[in-house]
Symmetry: C2
Subunit: 236 residues, 2 copies
C-alpha cells in the first residue's frame, strides 16, 4: 500500500449563496500548484456547502429561545439536554450537538444549517468537476461532531460521492489466515478526520485533497450508510 497525502487547499474565497464550489475548488487547487487529479478525494467542510446552498438563517445569537427553537425545528428527536446544549437527531439521522447548527465562521446574525442532503451536495460538486474540468474525484462533505464517551470533537462525513462510506472487510483473512470478525471500517469518517488535521479550525481552509486512497474504495457510498439504524443502536 502506498503513502497517502493530505493537501490543504488555500485561497478559497468567502462563499456566498449560489457560488459554484466545483470551480472555486479546482481553481484554488490549481493556483497553489496542486491541481486535482483523477482518484483524488476532495474533502469540503459543511460550512462552505451550507453557505453555497443558502442554508443560512437569520438569528440573534443571544436569543436563547430562538436558538433552541431553531435547533428543535431541525431535529426529529432530542436525545439529551444539558443547559443550552442539546444532543439531537437530525432529519438525516445524524446524532450531534445542536442539530449541527453553527454560528462560528458565519456572518453575525446568521446561523448555518446542515445541507438538506449532503450526499447530493457531494454528487453535485463531483459532477461539476467532471463536467467542467474532466477530473474524476470523490467528494466527502465533513462536519465536526462530538462523540459519546470520548473528549474532543472529530470531523466525520455527512455527505459522500464516489467513495465507500464503510469498507467491509468481513470475510477477508487476517495475516494468520483466520477469517476476520468485525472489520467494517468507516473509511469516509476517517478521511474526514484526517483532512481536518491539515485544515485547522481558525485558518479558513475549508477544503483538503486526499491523495492515494485505496482504489477499491472508489464506489458510491452514501453518508446515510454511516447512520446506525435506531433498532441496531444500543445508545439511542
Amino acid at each position: 500500500m502506498r503513502a497517502l497525502t493530505l493537501i490543504p487547499v488555500h485561497g478559497i474565497p468567502e462563499i456566498r449563496p449560489g457560488d459554484g464550489l466545483a470551480a472555486l475548488i479546482a481553481d484554488a487547487a490549481a493556483a497553489q500548484d496542486t491541481p486535482l487529479l483523477d482518484r483524488d478525494c476532495v474533502v469540503v467542510t459543511q460550512k462552505v456547502v451550507s453557505k453555497a446552498e443558502n442554508r443560512l438563517v437569520a438569528i440573534d445569537p443571544d436569543d436563547r429561545d430562538a436558538r433552541r427553537a431553531l435547533i428543535e425545528s431541525e431535529s426529529v428527536r432530542v436525545l439529551r439536554r444539558r443547559g443550552d446544549l442539546l444532543i439531537t437527531e437530525t432529519r438525516h439521522g445524524f446524532v450531534c450537538a445542536n442539530a449541527g447548527i453553527d454560528l462560528s465562521n458565519v456572518e453575525d446574525g446568521y446561523a448555518a444549517l446542515l445541507p438538506l442532503d449532503a450526499d447530493r451536495s457531494a454528487q453535485r460538486i463531483r459532477d461539476g468537476l467532471r463536467a467542467t474540468r474532466g477530473v474524476d474525484v470523490a467528494i466527502v462533505i465533513s462536519d465536526t461532531f462530538g462523540r459519546a464517551w470520548r473528549n474532543g470533537l472529530t470531523d466525520v462525513a455527512i455527505g459522500i460521492a464516489g467513495l465507500a462510506a464503510v469498507a467491509d472487510l468481513r470475510g477477508t483473512h487476517d495475516a494468520l489466515g483466520r477469517e476476520l470478525q468485525v472489520t467494517e471500517v468507516a473509511v469516509a469518517d476517517e478521511v474526514a478526520g484526517a483532512a481536518e488535521l491539515v485544515m485547522g479550525k481558525a485558518a479558513a481552509v475549508p477544503v483538503a485533497i486526499v491523495r492515494g486512497l485505496d482504489p477499491t474504495w472508489s464506489r458510491d457510498g452514501r453518508a446515510r450508510d454511516l447512520v446506525r439504524a435506531p433498532a441496531d443502536d444500543l445508545f439511542r
Copy 2:
C-alpha cells in the same frame, strides 16, 4: 499549513513477547527508505504492543462462557449486552466492545488484552527511539473501536507520547474575527484514524508514519485526556 503524509511501514515481523518495538519499527522504516525523522508521529496498533508486552492469554475461542468471563474481568462496568457482544468500560476508562479483547491476528488459542497502560507503552517506544536512534518522534498507540450512532469502526488513540490528545482552539478566533465556541479537536484520535487508512486490516501493516503534523501539537498528551469523565458524559 503544509501537507501531511501517511506512510505505511511494511516488513514488521510477527511480534513475540519481549520484542523491542522501537528497534523493529526504526529498522523497518529505514529498510523501505523512509527512515524516521524528528517530529514524525509513529502510529502503532494495539495488537503488536499487546504482543510485545505479553498481554496474551490462552482461551478457547469457542468457549463462550470463558470469553465472557475474560471480558468481564477486564472491565469495570458493562454498559450494554446484546448476544455475545458486550459494550464495557475498561479499567482505562475506554468504552468499547468486549473490553478491547481481540482474537484476530493472534495465534490460535490466544486472545490479546489491551496494554495495561498504553500511554506508558507509547512513552517507552518514544524513549527507545530517542535513546538508540537519536530521533525525536511522537507515538500514538491505536485501536479499532465502534461508536454510538454511527456504523463502522474507526481507529482511535489508546496511548500517546509527545502529541496533544486534544488541541484546544477555544478562545482563538475564526476567519471572521469572532471567538470560536467549541473546538476541542481530538487530534490524537484523528491521527489514529488517518493512519488506519494506509494500514488495511488484513495487510499486516501495524505501523504508519504521520509526517507534517502541526508542530504546536507536540506536547505531552495522554490517552486518558480523551476519556470523558462519567460525570460529564451524557451517554454512560
